[in-house]
Each structure stands twice: as structure tokens, then as C-alpha cells.
């Protein structure tokens, strides 16, 4: 008990002394994670969409070769950036670029560090998201594509109106995953002296050696950030699923009530949702379980 009280006192001490620094670190971490996840998601979208352009043996040879080449390039990008540690990627890019360009291109000053950090985390996230988006697209029932084709829609129209909206809904848990991972893993950017939340800890303990109290603040800080992110993502998912009930449109003006049909409660024996929805639910569970895997 004494120790707990001592810890709380130390934390209080640290906080009153350095809260500006901690909060600045939180701000930088949040901005970096948000921007890099957004850019990484866009990279992943482009890769995933390009990766799933269909081709058959009947297509002209140049088109087939171009598409195969494209898939190979995306494959290499994914494997390289998924298969190496982000901390090394940061060093490699931050110091490699000036090395190869004879310092014509270098990341200098505060803006340079920001740029390099965003670049590295974005590219890294993009590699993971490329696979997530591809998976999201593949997991949409092929019947949806056939339904769209059957009314004469082209591949692009099908993707824009039918497949991507459903695929995006399926990969929101993955986007959330990546955002949370980036919140935490952007801490390795201290290596190129980016001043995020963890860098604040390193600086502060370097001054006063209060390792454990500072680590306690960091733990609480990271947990608060990730919990808030999880909560917001849940809200977003629920909003995207739309209402569970719908209004019947009554043409007959003499009818007294325009009844509202309620969808049966989820997870009850009366849940009659279509097979696809149940399948999606299952997938979400699976994604959740794989969370630590990244």
C-alpha cells in the first residue's frame, strides 16, 4: 500500500513537472498515427483494387502481362515492408535517401523528421492494408458481382457502387486495428528523433531516473488513446450498418398507421438475417482474434 501511495505521489510529481512534454508527445503520436493510417489506407486501397482487376485468357496479351506485372510489384512491396521491422525501415529511409542522392534529398529539421515519420509509417501501414483490402474485396459474395454484371454494369461501376462499399464495411475492423497498432508502434520513431509520446518518456527519465512512475504514465496514456479509438470505431461501424428497422410506405391514404417493421433481435432464434450477414459477423470475430498478429 505504501508503495502504491509512493507511486501515485511520484506520478503526480512527474505530471506537474512535465505534463506539457507528455501532452505534446500524445499530440504528436495521435497526429502521426491518424495521418499515417489514412495515407496507408489509401495506399492499401489502390493496391487492393489494382490487385483484384480480373483478367481471363481471352484478354489481349498486353493487358494480361501488364496486370500480372502489377500484381508482382504489389506482392514485392507487401512482402518487403511487411517482412522488415518498422524501426529499421525508418533508419533505412531516413539515412538511405540522403546517402543515395548525395544529400540532395534529405530529411532535415523538424519538418523533415515529420515527413520521414509519416512516410515510413504510411508505407508500412499500406503494406498491411493492401492485403486487408484485397481480402475485403474477395470476401464479398461473388453473387454480388454477377448481379451487377447481369444488369450490364462494367467492372469499374461494379466496384464503385457494389463491391467497395461492402468491402469497406468488412475492413473497418482492420483499419481500426492498424490505427491502434500505429498509435503504439509509432513509438519506434524515436530512432529518427521524432518527439512522440514515448520519446517524452525517454527524455524525462534521462533527466531524473524515475523510470517506473514515468512508465506508468505512458501505459495509462497509451491505453486511454487506444480505448478511445476502439470506442469511436465501434460507433462508426454501427452507423455504417444502418437502422435495423424500416418504414413501410403506405400508398393507401385511408390506412391509419404506417407501421414500422422491426427486425428481429440479433442472436435470438428469430434472427432471420441473410447468410451473408452472418458470414460477415463470423469474419469480424476472426479478425478480432487475429488482432495481435498484425
Amino acid at each position: 500500500m505504501d508503495k502504491l501511495i509512493a507511486l501515485v505521489q511520484d506520478v503526480g510529481l512527474l505530471w506537474s513537472e512535465y505534463h506539457v512534454m507528455y501532452l505534446n508527445g500524445v499530440k504528436n503520436t495521435l497526429i502521426l498515427a491518424l495521418v499515417a493510417t489514412a495515407i496507408g489506407f489509401l495506399i492499401g486501397m489502390v493496391c487492393g483494387i489494382l490487385n483484384t482487376i480480373p483478367y481471363t485468357d481471352r484478354d489481349p496479351a498486353p493487358r494480361r502481362i501488364a496486370l500480372k506485372l502489377l500484381r508482382a510489384l504489389i506482392r514485392i512491396y507487401v512482402e518487403v515492408f511487411r517482412g522488415t521491422p518498422m524501426v529499421l525501415q525508418a533508419v533505412f529511409i531516413c539515412y538511405g535517401l540522403p546517402y543515395f542522392t548525395d544529400k540532395a534529398l534529405a530529411f532535415t529539421g523538424n519538418s523533415g523528421i515529420w515527413l520521414c515519420s509519416i512516410l515510413v509509417v504510411s508505407i508500412n501501414t499500406g503494406a498491411y492494408m493492401a492485403e486487408s483490402v484485397r481480402g475485403g474485396i474477395i470476401s464479398v459474395d461473388p453473387g454480388q458481382t454477377e448481379g451487377a454484371k447481369a444488369i450490364g454494369m462494367t467492372h469499374v461501376q461494379t466496384m464503385v457502387s457494389v463491391i467497395m462499399p461492402q468491402a469497406l464495411r468488412n475492413i473497418i475492423p482492420q483499419i481500426g486495428n492498424n490505427y491502434i497498432i500505429n498509435l503504439k508502434d509509432s513509438s519506434v520513431m524515436f530512432i529518427i528523433s521524432f518527439t512522440e509520446f514515448f520519446a517524452a518518456h525517454r527524455y524525462i527519465v534521462g533527466v531524473n531516473n524515475m523510470y517506473f512512475p514515468s512508465a506508468a504514465i505512458e501505459m495509462l496514456g497509451y491505453l486511454t488513446m487506444t480505448l478511445a479509438a476502439s470506442f469511436l470505431l465501434r460507433l462508426l461501424e454501427r452507423a455504417m450498418d444502418g437502422a435495423d428497422s424500416y418504414e413501410l410506405v403506405q400508398e393507401d391514404a385511408l390506412t391509419m398507421t404506417a407501421g414500422t417493421y422491426n427486425h428481429p433481435d440479433r442472436r435470438t432464434p428469430f434472427d432471420e438475417r441473410s447468410k451473408e450477414v452472418r458470414e460477415r459477423e463470423k469474419q469480424k470475430l476472426k479478425f478480432g482474434r487475429n488482432r495481435g498478429e498484425r
Binding site: R58, D141, G143, G147, I151, G152, Y246, V249, E251
Partner: protein, 246 residues
């Protein structure tokens, strides 16, 4: 006979070594209601999917108003917009409401304005008795209702031919009737239809011609009275007698 919309000449389809369709020859004229019957695996659905180019035929031709649509460089999407298809598993767009399902094709493919598209979508939805459900999503309605929406979606494209791929096979028995009723009304209105079905009563009473497929070929075809009344070939007789018992 009125003018031929579709002519299928020597059509064949193989999946690898497995020959599913062999030398299929038949044609569809305006106003025909053709039922295709046969055992599972006889190639009925594949034939329909080939006609809509969802499967690429491995041989033969499909002539649409005399033009071969299997040739290279043919705009398959545009051809498909003239040949509607209703699937066994409905394939309604899950991310859209009932109304949007019937609007999206008209706007994107037929380039109608949204107001026009909504107008005609509502009209077709009323025709299939789904008018009150415009705001529902596919997951919220029953199988029979989904299939009626799917029919309205196909009709909204004003197709010349409507293909039905076992439209009632995925439905609970009590919902089969509502879908068949819609199809009977369409037939009575002169819609050209090609129906793969296990509903023998529908084939007998509604269609103008019945095609019996067996082992990837058209085994026998003729008007329903003849094919059901006095089938010429023993296999057809066997197939039909199995259905009578059931």
C-alpha cells in the same frame, strides 16, 4: 414465327476436361416462354450463364439479333443490359435499399436521371407487389420478397429477354407461389422468358415450349402438351415420371 432475338448455334462449354455443354442449338423468338428442365448437372444453369456471358463458351456462337456476342471486342456489358437475369440466390446488392437496387442500373448503365429511374423503379416494384418495401434492405425481407425485387430490378432495365436461373429453388415452399405468380403475369404480358426450373407445373402451364436437357445436350424439345403428354424418348419419360411420383 416472330423475329428471333437469340440464336444459339453449336454452343459448347467445358470446364477443363469436363464437357458440360455439347453442341447446343436453339433459338428464342419474341414472346417465347421457354422452360428448360432436366436433372441436376445436366447443364441447364451453365447454358443460361453462357447466354448471359457470365461463363465464356468454349465453342459455338450466340447470335443476338444476328450479331455474334461471343466474338472478341464485343461489349459484353452492353449486351447484358438487354438480357436480364434472375438468379437462384437473388444477388440483390446488400449495401442498398430495395429502391436503390432497382435504380442503380438505370442510372449507371442506361444513363437515366435519378428522378426518372426512381419513377420507373417504383412502378416495377409495385408491379411485383413490393411497392411498400422501397426502404427495406435485402437482409430485412424474406426470400420470396427478395426474388420479386430481383425481378423488378431486371425489368427496370427494360430487357428484351429475361433469363431465370431456378428462381424458386432457394425459397421456402410457401414463398414459391408468390414468385411464380409474378412470372406468370409477365408471361401473360408477352415478356420473352427463358426459365430454368424444377417447377413442372409452371413449365407445363405457362411456357410455350419446353426443352429437356440431359448430359449437356438438348435431349428433347417441344410444346408442353407434347413433351409432358407423350414424350418421345425413354429418358424424358423416366425423368418426368420421377417428378410425378415426388
Amino acid at each position: 414465327m416472330a423475329d428471333k432475338i437469340l440464336e444459339i448455334c453449336h454452343l459448347s462449354k467445358a470446364f477443363g476436361d469436363h464437357q458440360v455443354l455439347r453442341d447446343i442449338d436453339f433459338s428464342v423468338s419474341k414472346g417465347d416462354v421457354t422452360s428448360i428442365i432436366g436433372a441436376s448437372g445436366s447443364g441447364k444453369s451453365t447454358l443460361l450463364r453462357c447466354i448471359n456471358l457470365l461463363e465464356t463458351p468454349t465453342g459455338g456462337q450466340i447470335l443476338y439479333h444476328g450479331r455474334d456476342v461471343t466474338a472478341h471486342g464485343v461489349n459484353a456489358a452492353r449486351y447484358r443490359s438487354h438480357v436480364g437475369m434472375v438468379f437462384q440466390s437473388f444477388n440483390l446488392f446488400n449495401n442498398m435499399t430495395v429502391l436503390e437496387n432497382c435504380v442503380v442500373g438505370q442510372v449507371k448503365v442506361l444513363k437515366k436521371t435519378k428522378a426518372e429511374a426512381i419513377e420507373s423503379a417504383k412502378q416495377y416494384l409495385n408491379q411485383v407487389g413490393m411497392g411498400p418495401y422501397v426502404n427495406a434492405r435485402p437482409r430485412q425481407i424474406s426470400g420470396g420478397q427478395k426474388q420479386r425485387v430481383a425481378i423488378a430490378r431486371a425489368l427496370a432495365m427494360k430487357p428484351e429477354v429475361l433469363l431465370f436461373d431456378e428462381p424458386t429453388s432457394a425459397l421456402d415452399p410457401e414463398m414459391v407461389g408468390e414468385v411464380l405468380d409474378v412470372m406468370k403475369t409477365l408471361a401473360a404480358q408477352g415478356m420473352t422468358m427463358l426459365v430454368v426450373t424444377h417447377e413442372m407445373a409452371f413449365a407445363r402451364d405457362v411456357s410455350s415450349r419446353v426443352v429437356y436437357m440431359n448430359g449437356g445436350v438438348i435431349w428433347e424439345e417441344g410444346p408442353p402438351e407434347q413433351l409432358f403428354g407423350e414424350p418421345r424418348k425413354p429418358e424424358t419419360r423416366d425423368f418426368l415420371s420421377r417428378f410425378r411420383k415426388a
